[in-house]
């Protein structure tokens, strides 16, 4: 990574742009194969760590069918729990209760979608906002500060919190964008460092006597008042108005990227900075705008995490891994607005399903593994082709034997 030479001034499109473009342009089949392969690997991990399988494997040669049955039981049990948690609880008495699982998935997908929109936006501009964590923390901190620090009526209260959170996130993004534009500092390094700066600032604000510290003995904020919380869409379901906001933002980002003149400039800078500059586009301004817009969206995701998902006093772990997961969602959605919406819902199902897996006694960390594997496979279509027996240069592997 070139920490200093500004990529936007370089003579040719950077390699990262090319790599991103390839990920963004790959076909859907690769995506499906990536998901299937990752779930296969996850199944193997579930089976080998299952105590029933380990016990049956001890006498594998005496009764091999026992081992196979135990493997089947562990994997089927894990994925059944996952299905009950993420899509439909077939054990529930009524359909209305069973579908609560999917409502929970939509609820859990909300911050992922919004944050992924922000990160995907920078991908399209040839930038890499890896500061999702810091921007979420900033958004949550400032949005939360509006929630319990001000007294506003219902509806207005969360709207103001969202706007303030967006400005806070945008500030953090703009810092990285401005440093990139004016000094050439690589935005990846700067945003990583800003993640930790934001985290430490939040820890400080949550210390005793800090501006965000609540009454209790643990480092948590005060409880946000009822008026500031995102309202539920339907009684009895966890999905909130935040999901509608996510859809609206998806439409907005789609319009911005695909239809507006600013979006055209963003994409032009992303695909060929030198050509964009020659065509009279102010690449420095575009860099700053892209990072600020991205930070604003991720900041909104932070507000949603605080006032839509958590709804209680929160601490410095409010981001809950969403900042990094959103990168994977943006890659899976190929940085297209509606693609990211779909990918976000898929990962929301993962998040909701993981909870049920944990309740059923399986380790929910397997979901993180599967998510990471999906993106790894997705990032390397040649790898998938190679697993299919085709070498990266297109020749069949079989010829070697």
């Amino acid at each position: 990574m070139s920490a200093v030479p500004p990529v936007i001034d370089a003579g040719q499109p950077s390699r990262m742009n090319a790599a991103l473009q390839r990920i963004l342009n790959g076909n859907w089949l690769v995506g499906i194969v990536a998901v299937v392969l990752s779930i296969l690997v996850g199944s193997v991990l579930i089976a080998v760590t299952d105590s029933g399988v380990q016990a049956a494997a001890g006498y594998f040669f005496a009764r091999p069918l026992d081992t196979i049955a135990a493997i089947w039981e562990s994997i089927a049990g894990a994925y059944a729990a996952f299905f009950r948690g993420g899509i439909f609880d077939y054990r529930a008495a009524t359909f209305a209760e069973g579908i609560e699982s999917f409502a929970e998935s939509l609820h859990r997908s909300t911050p992922l979608i919004i944050a992924a929109l922000g990160i995907g936006l920078t991908f399209r501009a040839g930038l890499f906002n890896i500061g999702g964590r810091g921007q979420i923390l900033f958004g949550a901190a400032f949005g939360g500060w509006i929630a319990f620090g001000t007294d506003l009526p219902y509806v207005i209260h969360p709207i103001v919190a969202v706007l303030v959170g967006a400005v806070a996130g945008a500030f953090l993004g703009a810092v990285a964008g401005a440093l990139k534009a004016f000094t050439g500092a690589h935005e990846v390094i700067v945003t990583i460092m800003l993640n930790f700066i934001a985290l430490n600032l939040l820890v400080w604000a949550l210390n005793p006597g800090g501006p965000l510290r609540g009454q209790g003995s643990s480092p948590l904020t005060p409880p946000p008042p009822e008026s500031s919380l995102f309202p539920f869409l339907f009684p009895g379901y966890s999905v909130t108005a935040g999901f509608l906001l996510a859809i609206a933002l998806t439409a907005g980002v789609w319009w911005l990227l695909e239809r507006s003149s600013l979006g055209f400039k963003l994409r032009a800078v992303g695909e060929n900075p030198a050509a964009a500059r020659t065509a009279g586009i102010d690449t420095k301004a575009i860099t700053i705008i892209a990072m600020a817009l991205s930070g604003a969206l991720v900041g909104i995701a932070g507000v949603e995490l605080a006032l839509g998902e958590t709804r209680r006093p929160f601490g410095s772990s409010i981001d809950n891994g969403v900042g990094f997961e959103a990168i994977t969602v943006a890659l899976l959605g190929r940085s297209r607005a509606w693609g990211m919406l779909a990918a976000g819902i898929l990962f929301g199902i993962f998040r909701a399903g993981a909870v049920q897996m944990r309740i059923a006694g399986y380790s929910d960390d397997i979901v993180t593994v599967v998510q990471a594997l999906i993106v790894l496979f997705l990032a390397a279509p040649p790898l998938i082709r190679e697993l299919w027996g085709v070498r990266p240069d297109g020749r069949r592997k079989a010829a070697k034997a």
Partner: protein, 431 residues
């Protein structure tokens, strides 16, 4: 700086301007800060520095200094040095490195005096303990930064240092507990780091996937994998899988050297992993600049096409050096578990890999400077916890934040000169 590479026309003009003013302005900012803190906000307390631990053979008397008087002296000296820097700058002379070192050391001493003098609990600062703890905190950072230096000098950005440290810590705890041997654990840690490095190298060198994306996703993958095995295997059977207390490296003080006041407890009362870190830094430094291996490594990172022309296999060189870096980072991870006898915990590295990355950049891609940066970052984080212990007015989080702030300033070109290897982060595709 950056524009040198792009536009040779402006090189000379740019260089004159940049060399002249950055250092003096940096000095001036710090001098102004110290005037404000050490004089303006000074307390009338007396700061006591305890220089030796209670059980040390050579005892030094504790040093008492009046916070206000001493702080004023330090601030005035800093202002004078700033003046020297400005004079040098107007004569177009670069500010020498030793001047910056003296300046930095003075500022640290002044800062400690101010912080201890204004503390609410006690005005006594255990300098010996502070330094002894510094190296322990810095060991994984040093290994991580060496891995980063080797990878980036070969042209592969290693964001996955965090994952390599974490997997090393996990592998060491698991294998050392299962075999009862810390040596087996150490080997396992290196292997774990290499495994992560293999994935990074395969994706970035063979499949030309963006190295940053690969690194970020690898960190997620390792965090998920280790947490999964932690909850699926380790929590149920800690005696069997996760109890490095019985298989840890013990500290062995080097006779004689460990009795040196201040430096003895810092460097010469370590475990094997600690001593190995010092050796690794020196060996890497020597090998990088004085051996055939180092020359080839640097050439594939600076100008892969030229290296290829003279018959160096660029991608193979990169692949094996990234793997070597992985082994080093994995051993660094071992210091978390079998180095201290602490059981493995989920995400126990807590972002140390990113601090190591910061040390690589702040250390200007040089093994010696990166290790010094890692020591500095270890010192600040250790100082943070010490200061909160004595009730200092500085919140410890601001000390913990320092590495990150310094790195942002460094990549922005405000502190030092950060120029990465020319082909850093770019895959080599033979045409």
């Amino acid at each position: 700086m950056s524009t040198d590479l792009v536009n040779p026309m402006t090189t000379s003009i740019q260089r004159v301007r940049l060399v002249s003013w950055k250092a003096p302005i940096g000095y001036a900012v710090i001098a102004a800060l110290s005037l404000l803190l050490f004089v303006g906000l000074a307390s009338d307390g007396v700061a006591t520095f305890v220089l030796t631990e209670a059980d040390a053979a050579i005892q030094l008397a504790p040093v008492d200094v009046g916070a206000r008087a001493f702080g004023t002296i330090v601030a005035v000296l800093l202002v004078l040095l700033t003046g020297v820097a400005f004079v040098l700058a107007t004569r177009r002379r670069p500010v020498p490195v030793w001047l910056t070192l003296v300046f930095g050391l003075l500022f640290v001493v002044g800062f400690l005096t101010w912080a201890a003098g204004a503390a609410t609990q006690t005005n006594t600062l255990q300098v010996a303990g502070l330094l002894a703890g510094t190296f322990g905190v810095a060991v994984p950072l040093i290994y991580g930064s060496l891995a980063g230096v080797i990878g980036e000098r070969a042209g592969v950005v290693n964001i996955a240092i965090e994952g390599q440290l974490l997997f090393g810590a996990f592998g060491a705890a698991l294998v050392a507990t299962m075999t009862g041997s810390p040596w087996a654990g150490l080997v396992a840690a290196a292997v774990a780091g290499v495994l992560v490095a293999f994935v990074l190298a395969a994706f970035s060198i063979r499949y030309f996937v963006d190295q940053i994306i690969t690194g970020v996703v690898l960190n997620l993958l390792v965090a998920g994998l280790t947490s999964f095995f932690y909850s699926a295997l380790m929590t149920g059977n800690p005696d069997q899988f996760n109890d490095p207390r019985l298989a840890q490296f013990s500290r062995f003080p080097i006779p004689g050297l460990s009795e040196i006041p201040l430096l003895g407890p810092m460097f010469f009362e370590q475990t094997l992993i600690g001593y190995l870190a010092i050796v690794a830094v020196l060996v890497t430094w020597f090998a990088l600049y004085r051996t055939k291996w180092g020359l080839r490594l640097r050439s594939v990172g600076e100008h892969p096409t030229a290296a290829d022309t003279v018959g160096i296999n660029v991608n193979r060189t990169r692949f094996w050096n990234v793997a070597l870096g992985g082994a080093i980072a994995g051993i660094g991870g071992a210091s978390y578990t079998i180095g201290t006898g602490v059981a493995f915990g989920e995400n126990m590295t807590g972002g140390a890999g990113y601090i190591a990355l910061a040390a690589v950049i702040f250390g200007q891609w040089d093994p010696l400077k990166a290790a010094l940066a890692a020591l500095l970052f270890g010192f600040t984080s250790n100082l943070g916890s010490q200061l909160s212990l004595i009730g200092s007015p500085v919140p410890s989080v601001f000390m913990l934040m320092l590495p990150y702030v310094v790195t942002v300033l460094a990549v922005a070109g405000l502190v030092g000169r950060s120029r990465p290897p020319a082909a850093d982060g770019q895959p080599y595709i033979k045409s």
